[in-house]
Assembly symmetry: D3
């Protein structure tokens, strides 16, 4: 097949992919020329906020008492400038009102207002995260150093993104927080919904496969291991057969609970304070304070028949 | 130790690593100067195909009715040019024939032919993926928007890579599809083998740890949660003690099945339509249509002895 | 809100974040101007070592018998130059001694010495990894090619990082090995502690969610599947209530063991040679050689009540 | 000197450089937060316009009849989007009016209007430049190919920038055209003021050091060599001793004139059609049509005294 | 004007610029899909050859006796791989024969052959350039170091490009040498035609504006200053009024000549050995060996009338 | 020729280029492993200093009264960190002493000391340059704005580099200043030696081809045009026939002098205050204060014989 022949056949594909009927399938609600959130820009913003919170650990800021303020100031300014646009894109994205100039101008004002309030919360985020680091350090005999926790514990990244995203949700930003939590999910395998409500000194060991659902309430000093699911059972449907949004449907986990790897805890149940959940269990009912749940007995055979199952 | 002394010692390492005996261990079947697939190039190709399927969501294409065709056309052309080379590399990689000029020329023709046919399938891939997006949206009460699904559901990325890779396999491309599915695995923790056979409106929630084996057959409207394994039990060996390749050994999952987190389903069994599999179970036998499987009772204790196991 | 008004409010945030009291929370033990390890630089180093071990598979080195030595030599030199600095940063990071010029000079000498010894071990690392590749190939009927294993098996990346990190630990480098193993964890979902002790021909299929703890001892020809945890139970505390570091607390897994997906094996127990552990089980006691452990019976119901749990 | 001591001394420099009194010296007329033109962005814009005019010669566009429109369309869109902002910055930069919302909104409208009109002139610019290429080709016996002229004649780049800048000036854009012509000056050593008025089929051989002043009028088929100056003599001052702006003060060069290297022609004189100016002459008076001016006799000595002057 | 309205108007421009009639004006002789030379790739090639010739001076190669060979080998291989394609593009570009498969294959063979011969000449190029460096050093009292000459004399870059380009011309490569010499022209203001014939120990001080025409013959130990032109007078036309290509029309400059700044020397004249040409003269006739030419007397006035001309 | 055959022939070239005898020709005085200055790093440093002096004009710093200090502080810190290394490289490069540890440590101290003193001079450099901008603005009727001068006058870049380089020379740095002035030469065609001694309010119009020699002394308010040379005549040789370094050999130009384009002024002569030098003249003798020098009469002919010379 001659190259020119091949390229002639492109027009059909291009026209098909560019026809509004076709791309309308995947861009259902978009208005021409309105800004869309950018995953890449949000990634950069999150990296800069991490650098602000943990100076020196993520590459850009050299740790020196005398010059730290310059690097900090520059990052604050850059985060502000980029985030204003993303917040605006988030507000546009989920707006169902009729478009008008005054609506746009109102939204721009709102974006700036939200963003400066987010910026002003960063010192508080640092405080919260330093407690999370401390908890991870104390819970893990393999950690020889607090700095090691910041450098190499994926849970710190995931909780950092969660605390950023949760703050943005509280300030009224749609869409953007979900993208931020998904960035952490992709990086760490830990999926915490930004709407979840999580207390202080939260720790997750290893973390791959952890899921924390959107209506979870988690107390202080809770410790999870890898593969733990705090999820929903089946949920009520509306008259059209669609799931009803916003109903509390994930667990409440009280203070000082430990949940071992791969445990699945589903539905609006309560795991009482100081309870312990063993690994690989399936829990759909309340657990008493100080209670313990462990998987039923396994079948043990003395000789397997050749290495397989 | 003086720098020059250190560098003198490099020659031994370099010679050792460059000797054919040594690198032959890891590059068993390579012919000098034949092209190798490039993971980085394939990553770019997949990103461009994603941009074509979901314009506006992955950064490069600005969504405007009047100019969309230019961006689309350019991406189509760039995908074609890069993919032709990768398909060729794939064909070379797994070829056991004796090398000749006519073989090379035949393969080049074949690469172009396959690639143009892949390009022509992109509108169909968009159609399939828009159904997957719809399914994810309907199944998740936490999703407030279809656009949110595209922006932040890892399963959409994983299924997108799967549908691309599966199409390439159908067109006769070796190696490349596996690399493409592994790219999604690394990004999302979801590992779908490109040879698996998956129906419409497929959804995976959260997804980390999901494994779908190469001989799986999955119906329409199937929903998986994180950590679900559709795997193989032990498999028959040939006379040399090597596993026999290509034998059907993974589950058949019929239409409208739901499988909860961390369930492990192994072997060539059938999970009947409308069945529900609870979390953390180990299933190695057929499940009836409309059946339900839940983990055996856990051991529950009122007081744990100090927070541990 | 006027832009200038917004920017005036930055000073408060910047001062707060730059005050030693505030950042001291997260940078507990840092000395002004001492080098910190760089995650980005370590990422590059690991990529270059991978290229050295598997030439041609990761993009930079063209596979040609006559020129391979040049590319190899250059990478060796670049790895050396970057790694010396990272090793030094690691030594500084975890040093509690009083700072002095002679201490610095001694550490610089030590960094060079360690690094050259690491460089000299790369041919050995290649040998070990080629056995790991062979094991993965033989264990997986879906692999049609050894090269496919190198290109697309995340376990190879994870084991490669483990073997690099473990070697660095043996040579006395602190911190750096943990960051290297976490890089693999983020990329693959496989979390192998660099202190673990792992034999030859080790294979992990799919791998997402696998955790191998720091005091594990693993024999030859062991095969793990995704989601397997080799972890610790609760651990002894010292008089201050902190976990005692360094106590053996993870499993010993003898030769020729197979462990299926999502099995959780906790504590200093021994899984005897040739044993098989089924998926989703919770094991906290010794398993006999040639033994088999399978999850207890599930509850099976003929009709579920509408698709949910 | 200890590093911390050094860094303490930075504050003095930073405060000094950041004080409005100090930077006001160099940023005389700037309003806080108003956009400034960006030299880097303008460089990219010019490169893209060059690619549009000479497809295939500057790297990005592959020359294929079937796909050219996609690449062209994308570049047109990107040039438009970037140029709108630069035109706006140019309008702000030289505006002396009191700032207001309605002024800003009017300027934004004007920027879009100007930019689309510029875009629509690109086909005309191509036509003019193809005549300039033809002239260069015919005038130079060393050129073996028209394509060679486009690829390697600096004059084509310089004239291209001039024609772009001149068009923008005609459309009422301040500042931006001067930056664009200076980009060509830096790249080629040819300095053509965007306000100059230059006819068709203009050619410059080699070109380094050529200067064409802002009130020059140049006819058709004029050929210059390197180092030619078409400049101003001294100019009238206003009552404050400042030069009066905008007075015609550079030469008029009629059709079919040739000017050899390093000739300096100053003031509002006329060089008549078909005249020839020899190299290294100093001309401050009118030259007749068909006239010729050559430098006065040199002093020639038979023996120099050792190689020097 | 609404954004969508603007973008609708793009189609006219795009169609106009993409129509073969329009772009045919500037791409007169191009065949669809044939490779074009790339200025950016040639720039990289030249930079790598410079690094090979002057290791350590242009950034990439660290100067260490033990590792130099690795960096050298890698650059040699990379230069070869890139240059083969550029030579092929050059051969295609100026080919007027009818296209055929056998022609293409013959050209590919020729490209490889030429390129390897070029590679093999690099040691010779280094020898020649080291003599040029020595000459520059001895001729300039301001140079305190030979290394200073390599680091900061533009003439060394220009002569380096000339010697590369000239070698490629000798090996039969069209187009590419002209682009390479123009790269130096843009960087340094020195324009040496690759066909010129230049002896050993050639030096140019400052250099901006120097022009050396294509049929120049220059002896050994010649020294030029900035702004010197060795050019052509008017040239004979053929019956169509086009310049006749290839006629000797530039000066012959014999050994040990010095030419001062801005001298213009035109036509096929001979400047005899050991002659000195003063600055700013216009020379169109032979100069005797050991002769000296100086500009005629200037007009000197005691008082100017206010600073101007 | 087969690819493998080609690559076999590389070894000869590589060995030849890597042999100390061969590269010793061009790296005469280098010690293994000593740092070399880096042209690329110096380019970045100069760009950052320009940004510090002219905030807002070169892209990185957004002009806002409230945040300017952060950007300024960061650039100051980055310039310091990079420049310390370059100053050290410069000190090593031109050192002829025997290498020792104490020498290295002394040089490191000296580098820091010099660099901090350079940093502290930046506010003064801004003051000087703002006078140069003012002079250029007042001297050029085509400039409509002081900002236009900063944005688009190459002379400002060249004078800026000169003032930086000259300050470094005064502080005792070898090599580095020459590279910095050559960077400006390449960018602008203006070649000012860093050792020249230049007063306030210096302006150069257009500038291509201007040369200012190392022992020049230039007063206040001097104005040069393009192509002006302030150079040396032949110079005295020492007993070995090498030029004697450091002898005053370039012109003294007093206050308020104007020199028109392409004038060549050679030797240790004095051009008196308020003198005017016309274009294209050759001056080797003193010019009186208020004097004027103009080129001798040209030969003017009424009819040229066909457009040529």
């Amino acid at each position: 097949m001659d190259t020119n022949d091949v390229k002639k056949r492109f027009d059909y594909v291009v026209n098909s992919l560019s026809s509004p009927t076709s791309y309308g399938q995947v861009c259902h609600e978009h208005y021409d020329n309105e800004p869309l959130p950018s995953i890449d820009v949000l990634k950069e913003i999150v990296e800069k906020v991490r650098q602000l919170i943990f100076p020196g650990f993520y590459g850009f800021i050299p740790l020196n008492t005398n010059t730290l303020k310059y690097y900090t100031g520059l990052l604050v300014d850059q985060v502000y400038e980029s985030l204003v646009d993303q917040v605006l894109a988030g507000l546009c994205f989920s707006c169902n009102q009729k478009r008008s100039m005054s609506l746009l101008s109102e939204r721009q004002k709102k974006s700036k207002d939200i963003t400066i309030r987010f910026i002003e919360s960063i010192p508080y985020l640092r405080e919260m995260l330093s407690k999370d680091v401390e908890a991870a350090f104390l819970n893990d005999p393999a950690a020889s150093h607090r700095g090691e926790v910041v450098f190499s514990y994926p849970s710190i990244k995931a909780i950092c993104n969660y605390r950023i995203a949760n703050k943005l949700y509280q300030l009224g930003v749609p869409m953007i927080p979900r993208i931020i939590s998904e960035l952490a999910h992709s990086e760490t395998g830990i999926d915490i919904h930004p709407l979840a409500n999580i207390g202080e000194s939260f720790s997750i060991d290893h973390g791959t496969g952890v899921v924390v659902g959107s209506t979870c309430i988690i107390g202080d000093r809770v410790q999870l291991f890898q593969g733990v699911t705090l999820g929903a059972k089946s949920f009520p449907l509306d008259e059209n057969g669609n799931p009803i949004k916003g109903v509390p449907r994930h667990p409440i986990v009280e203070d000082d609970v430990v949940i071992y790897s791969n445990a699945t805890i589903l539905g609006r149940i309560t795991v009482g304070h100081h309870a312990t959940i063993g690994g690989n269990v399936w829990v759909t009912e309340d657990v008493m304070p100080y209670g313990r749940v462990i998987q039923g007995r396994s079948r043990i055979e003395k000789f397997n028949d050749g290495g397989g199952i």
